[in-house]
Amino acid sequence: MTENNELIRLSAAALAEKLAAREVTAVEVTQAHLDRIAAVDGKVHAFLHVNTDEALAVAAEVDAIRAAGGAAAEELHALAGVPIAVKDLIVTIGQPTTAGSKILEGWHSPYDATVVERLRAAKMPILGKTNLDEFAMGSSTEHSAYGPTRNPWDLDRIPGGSGGGSAAAVAAFEAPLALGTDTGGSIRQPGAVTGTVGVKPTYGGVSRYGAIAMASSLDQIGPVSRTVLDSALLHQVIGGHDPRDSTSLPDPLEDLVAAARTGHVEGMKIGIIKELHGEGYQAGVENRFNESLELLKAAGAEIVEVSCPNFKYALGAYYLIMPSEASSNLAKFDGVRYGLRVLPEQGPMTIERVMGATRAAGFGDEVKRRIILGTYALSAGYYDAYYGSAQKVRTLIQRDFDAAFAQADVLISPTAPTTAFKLGEKLNDPLAMYLNDVATIPANMAGVPGLSLPGGLADEDGLPVGIQLLAPARQDARLYRVGAVLESLLEAQWGGPLLEKAPSLTAATADSSAAATALSHGGSH
């Protein structure tokens, strides 16, 4: 048990080394994570499906190849045998894909997403599918049709969203790595509130073939992990051109792992975005943000202030573009080709009425809100004022980024304005919920890459704060270079990874040792 506890706390990079050195087997590593899921996921609810048999079979295959040695063993990917969780918006053969919606309950995809094919090619055991806000629409995972995921730091609080399941799985040591998707912050904001790392790559940098689309001009798949290096390792597996995604960039992938391993900030210009901190940001978030700036300065970076005056329109423009694209993308859920079909209780049984009844029963409130809002923004007479204007704002945001990156190599801000809030706190106030993404949305609007890493705990509530780094399009390597330095400076201050301060989730199940464990971890949960 102790041994397993040690295995689940290792980074993906450390697990890869131990596997290559044959100090542990892939089956042991995978089983340790499956055991952890069995022990804590009843409380955290990060997973919608656990893929036990397939994960263990893939792990056993890796072990057999390693044991046999020779060319096949030499050719194994560095992450072979390192398990991973996949957000349930990404389709997988052999496991259900629900998108967190009742309309796809029990649906099995006949094909794998490109990123899943790449995980399989690297022989990474897939532990299961993680929870999300329905069709990735939300910032708290409370809009999942299958119940919310809980934040491992405080089970009464949200893990962020939409990728709360992937972030919580990694934070709760149920998986060393996970895949997320980020349309307006759904990888980075959960990373911030769970004390983990998440990266939204450059738009088109990772294939979206097989990611169920919400807003096609904004959606991006990316890595979720506990360390900056681990995200780089995963990014390297999933990134690069895919002819099956017409928005996939043809550029060769940079060496992101080398960037994370070498880390460098000396002489770099790091820009604070004037509009993305200060008013509206929690004091504890501001404090940790300012500390990170001091650390970077001490390490030789030059901190400059940049202004992005049009960012104040980003949230509004996002909430026109995203619902418009979502209303169109979700039109395919018509009760004919896949998923749920609900028949109207009375009256003529026409396709229109079946569709209306199916979508009424299959979609949750937030999805309906966004479809109606998008239908409105795209309707005749409003199109120019809403969708057209929002697309112009997009140009202004890109120009702001261009001007900012003329002054700085990377930009920095808090990832989210607050730490994790209580479950239910913002559920009935859509607008308050949308404000969580105010600092993450500009990157999606402009297509630039962003990384969130833990910046410490807020003084007032002891909950994780996220620091966001942004780089110009196609310059994802800069995020890893700077992120790795900031991470090591912060960890030197804390005396180890931030997640070591997270409460032990198993304390409450073993009643006799609960008090002792709670004391030894200094936690209340």
């Binding site: 043809p250 509004g316 026109l320 026409t350 809403y386």
Partner: protein, 98 residues
């Protein structure tokens, strides 16, 4: 821009093929009015001289070779369908009998 009211929501729900109860229409109208009001500033943000951006990193002429790629069998395609008949999707009546 006009505020969004209950009748608008009823019409939009019909266009979007989502049946809504009276209670749902009332609630949705209230929530959407607040959201629409909050995004109003967007229409005043950019002048006529600003071009629209539809894709952040536009690619043009993305083609592939005109050869048959991977295809699904009829069985695979129908596997997730709620109803099928003789190898095809079974669809409810398109037209009302009346």
């Amino acid at each position: 821009m006009a505020a969004i009211n209950r009748d608008d929501v009823a019409h939009l729900a019909q266009l979007a093929h989502i049946e809504m109860s009276a209670e749902e229409l009332d609630r949705m109208a209230g929530e959407l009015a607040v959201i629409v009001d909050s995004v109003k500033s967007v229409s005043e943000a950019a002048g006529d001289d600003v071009p629209a951006t539809s894709h952040p990193i536009p690619l043009t002429n993305v083609f592939r070779e005109d050869v048959v790629g991977h295809t699904f069998t009829a069985e695979q395609s129908l596997n997730g369908a709620p109803d099928a008949y003789e190898g095809r999707f079974k669809v409810p009546a398109i037209l009302d009998e009346d």
